[in-house]
Symmetry: C2
Amino acid sequence: MALSPPLYEGKAKILYPTADPDVLLAHFKDDATAFNAQKRGTIREKGEINCTLSSHLFQKLGEAGIPTHFLAQVAPQQMHVRRVTIIPLEVVVRNRAAGSLCRQTGLPLGLPLEPPLVEFYLKDDALGDPLLTPDRLQLLNLASPSHIAQMQALALQVNQWLSDFFKDCGILLVDFKLEFGLNRDDQMVVADEISPDTCRLWLKDETDPQKRILDKDRFRQDLGQVEEAYRQVLTRVLGQAAAG
Amino acid sequence: MALSPPLYEGKAKILYPTADPDVLLAHFKDDATAFNAQKRGTIREKGEINCTLSSHLFQKLGEAGIPTHFLAQVAPQQMHVRRVTIIPLEVVVRNRAAGSLCRQTGLPLGLPLEPPLVEFYLKDDALGDPLLTPDRLQLLNLASPSHIAQMQALALQVNQWLSDFFKDCGILLVDFKLEFGLNRDDQMVVADEISPDTCRLWLKDETDPQKRILDKDRFRQDLGQVEEAYRQVLTRVLGQAAAG
């Protein structure tokens, strides 16, 4: 298929227009970046794995009544998504302390967070995607209070569904990042992707703090076996999706 | 006076015990640091200026009914303060956007913030004094919800009084940092210091964005005339204190 020039190229995906102005083609790249793109590399077959994983998870979320931008996987690395206006905020849901939360506060890795923590970050590479307090979120005025409340509620719904689903796969959902968009009917939908690039996933029955990691932290921390970890998540999710 | 070995030495002050176990001697140093002590220098007579300024402002705040740890200025660079247990949080009140708020969010310098923004930061040099969301503040459990509410309310009271006072000195109080402590009666009091090291102060009638700066930003940004700016704040405050 001949592709039109891209509408947008991000660190992990390229968005192309299609013949239908309400539909975009998302192409998932094998490129991997971390630490605000200061670290760059390639994860073999990542595009295909993340596209397939996201497609399955978006499909299941939709069936569970949570609106997403997903329409259909149309090729191993490509999905059709509904065109949305992305809200430039990243919503992170944390069930356990990890990553920047530990680095910034000194809270111990793996500390259970009950209730889960929902955090908003400004999606702005030049500013380093800074954490926003509720006051700063309001000051920036990037989304109305009602839209922010919708994002918060949807993020918690996704967390509930996704935690249960991954648990059945033998995986602990430590934390994850969502992006949201507004479709042409002004409906808030989950956008972007759900993959080991955007989730922290730990093998539930593995206590070794390095061996258990099945997500981009293997790349961030140079732990090796990155492809194998991503592949294992896909295998478990597809197995569970078929069983469930 | 022969001093006992210090109880504590910080970047700007040294605390010594006195004969009275409930009273400490705070010695204000001329040392200046910025950017979490990555930048170091000396500001001539800073210790004397900041000790005198803080003494006057604490005295006035006390008269306005706001409890502080201040007892008396006992030498140009030294004050007696009540011994308190410092809560390891920095409370920042912002009337205008400046500093890290602008760097982190892209909000324009000088943007009026109404109502004023009250922000909590973890007082931890090793972690770089990170900004805390209300959720992170609660998770860290460094102060009870009731103590946090007291700090917030006191910070706003200090802001109201201090903004009015500086306004009468021809100075705009852009933002400032407070620290709090609990005295032996478990009363929350304002501690640390109030000075051009801990406040952003702009000359009210000066529109030049560099000339108007009367605070540590002159040191941070290498703007020169640092001592003169600190001295000018002192002169204006002492004049106003005498007049008021």
